[in-house]
């Protein structure tokens, strides 16, 4: 490994510890890491967009002498639309920005509409009407082997979906029967939110595991660990950050109020 790679690994661990210091409280060393991250991300994004989009799709076409005059002049249209977007900065001419925004919205709506209708609405509606005969033949009433697939789950899907839809149907009078159906709909929604919450928690813990693996050197080959010494980097970084937090906290004195 080169010296710069080893420095990069140490910097990565130091910045991770800086960000984790937010768990104690919002503090300047966390802010430093946050601003650095934002700055680098924006800088990187701008370069990627310039070389990946702006240059090949606009500048190269405008400068390309091989293209005919008509094709080159066509490329001026997006350039004009870009300048019109910037008219937002001048209140007197800000209305001009509505034209490119209208193009963007219209194009996006057109692209989204067909996909949503075909793949999301139609296919998913069709899937919510299960063929119970086929489900019974394949899985029976309940199959432990297939994560609970079967007639019970299919019926629960149909009833739960119907109850959810009825819960949001406000035009019907809320009599006792409707209230019971609505309650079942809420229960189904809560089950769904619970599953999503569980997956979200899993995702967040996975992120923490990823950082811990890097800090402990578990994600690298032994020869790389021998060169980087990630555990030493973690201890040194933690010592610097803790020392900073102690000094920062003392300077605040009695004015200190926890920020989170």
């Amino acid at each position: 490994m080169t010296g710069i790679e080893i420095f990069g690994a140490w910097l990565s661990i130091f910045l991770t510890v800086c960000v984790l210091s937010f768990l104690y409280d919002d503090n300047p060393i966390y802010k430093l890491a946050e601003h650095l991250f934002l700055g680098v991300s924006i800088g990187y994004g701008v370069i990627e967009i310039y070389f990946g989009v702006f240059k090949p799709n606009l500048l190269d076409k405008l400068m390309n002498g091989e293209l005919g005059g008509f094709q080159r002049s066509l490329s001026i249209i997006p350039l004009i639309l870009i300048f019109m977007l910037f008219s937002k900065l001048v209140p007197k001419y800000s209305w001009l920005a509505r034209i490119p925004i209208a193009f963007i919205v219209a194009a996006y709506a057109g692209v989204k509409l067909t996909g949503e209708l075909n793949a999301n609405l139609m296919t998913q509606v069709a899937q919510s009407i299960p063929d119970l005969g086929a489900v019974w033949a394949e899985y029976g009433f309940w199959s432990w082997k297939h994560d609970g697939a079967g007639v019970f789950s299919s019926l629960f899907l149909v009833l739960g979906l119907s109850a959810c839809l009825l819960h949001f149907y406000f035009s019907a009078p809320q009599n006792k029967a409707m209230q019971q159906v609505s309650r079942f709909g809420v229960l189904t929604l809560m089950l769904s939110f619970g599953a999503s919450f569980g997956y979200t928690v899993m995702g967040r813990i996975s992120l923490a595991i990823g950082r811990a693996q890097e800090m402990l050197g578990l994600d690298r080959l032994p020869e790389q660990v021998a060169q980087i010494h990630p555990r030493i980097a973690t201890v040194v970084s933690a010592a610097i950050v803790i020392a900073f937090l102690v000094v920062w906290r003392r300077r605040q004195g009695d004015d200190y109020t926890p920020g989170n």
Partner: protein
């Protein structure tokens, strides 16, 4: 448990929870244990779909993830590349995420070199393309027009691996490693139905529940969600354990995940008990 203890528990400084979670993650990492886990039907389908690709075919990989989703998706990405390369399947890769190229290119280079594959002949990386859903639509319609050059500046027509592959439907399979938008959802909505594509997806845990209906509807032929999905795929690709020099990061992490979950569940149960008992006591007062 005394009432004032429960009240104190409810008002506990949240930093103790952070510390507890940190310890819950670190201990099983420092003292690893091996608990068995089973392979989900969705991951098995994904594995089977890749297994059925004939040797010599070419797949399209859309590596749409970033450093933030690396712990969840990189293990799958690596295991999937091992799977494809040892089956002699060629691949054309691209990404719709700007931060992806520096992350995935070294992995492509490392693993293809390990299997003795040649750039341009057995694989290529077309790099990043902006445009999100519009870019996906363009991949469905015309890849050479969408990516006139690869990441190294070669003209796409000069690469043997891309010859004869003009549209997404020309590939044996689309493998999408998706950390969010744009990703699997957009591939399914924009081009899967239109071209009847075979798409397999590895996604983050957060997106997992959203994509399960696509799998159930047959719009995806396999789905791996989060770190457990990656671990299961690793298990299928390396049933006898990893070869020398290969790290199964997701498999290592599954037990850590279990301990983390147990800690959260204990807190949820205790929090609920404390809430209901204190509320009852307040009502009595």
């Amino acid at each position: 448990m005394k009432l004032d203890t429960l009240v104190r528990f409810q008002n506990m400084d949240r930093r103790w929870i952070f510390l507890g979670m940190g310890i819950a993650i670190l201990i099983p990492m420092l003292f690893p244990m091996t608990l068995p886990f089973k392979v989900d039907e969705r991951v098995q389908s994904l594995y089977d779909a890749v297994e059925e690709i004939p040797a010599g075919s070419t797949v399209f990989i859309s590596a749409d993830f970033d450093p933030a989703s690396r712990p969840e998706l990189e293990p799958f990405f690596r295991a999937n590349l091992h799977h494809l390369l040892r089956k002699d399947v060629k691949f054309v890769a691209a990404t719709l995420w700007p931060s992806s190229p520096p992350l995935v290119m070294p992995i492509f280079e490392e693993l293809t070199a390990e299997y003795g594959k040649e750039y341009g002949k057995d694989w290529c990386f077309l790099g990043f393309k902006d445009g999100k859903e519009l870019a996906i639509k363009a991949i469905g319609e015309n890849i050479p027009e969408t990516f006139p050059q690869d990441i190294k500046g070669n003209k796409i027509g000069d690469l043997a691996v891309t010859r004869g592959y003009k549209q997404a439907k020309d590939f044996a399979m689309i493998i999408n490693i998706s950390a969010g938008f744009p990703g699997t959802r957009e591939y399914v909505l924009q081009i899967q139905g239109q071209y009847d594509l075979s798409i397999a997806s590895a996604t983050t845990a957060v997106s997992g529940p959203d994509y399960i209906p696509f799998y159930k509807a047959g719009q995806l032929n396999g789905l791996s969600a989060g770190m457990p999905g990656s671990a299961q795929y690793e298990l299928l690709v390396f049933p006898d354990g990893p070869p020398e020099g290969v790290r199964l990061l997701a498999t290592q992490s599954v037990n850590v995940l279990n301990v983390g979950h147990a800690f959260i569940i204990i807190l949820i149960v205790l929090g609920n008990i404390a809430f209901f008992v204190t509320r009852q006591a307040e009502e009595v007062e």
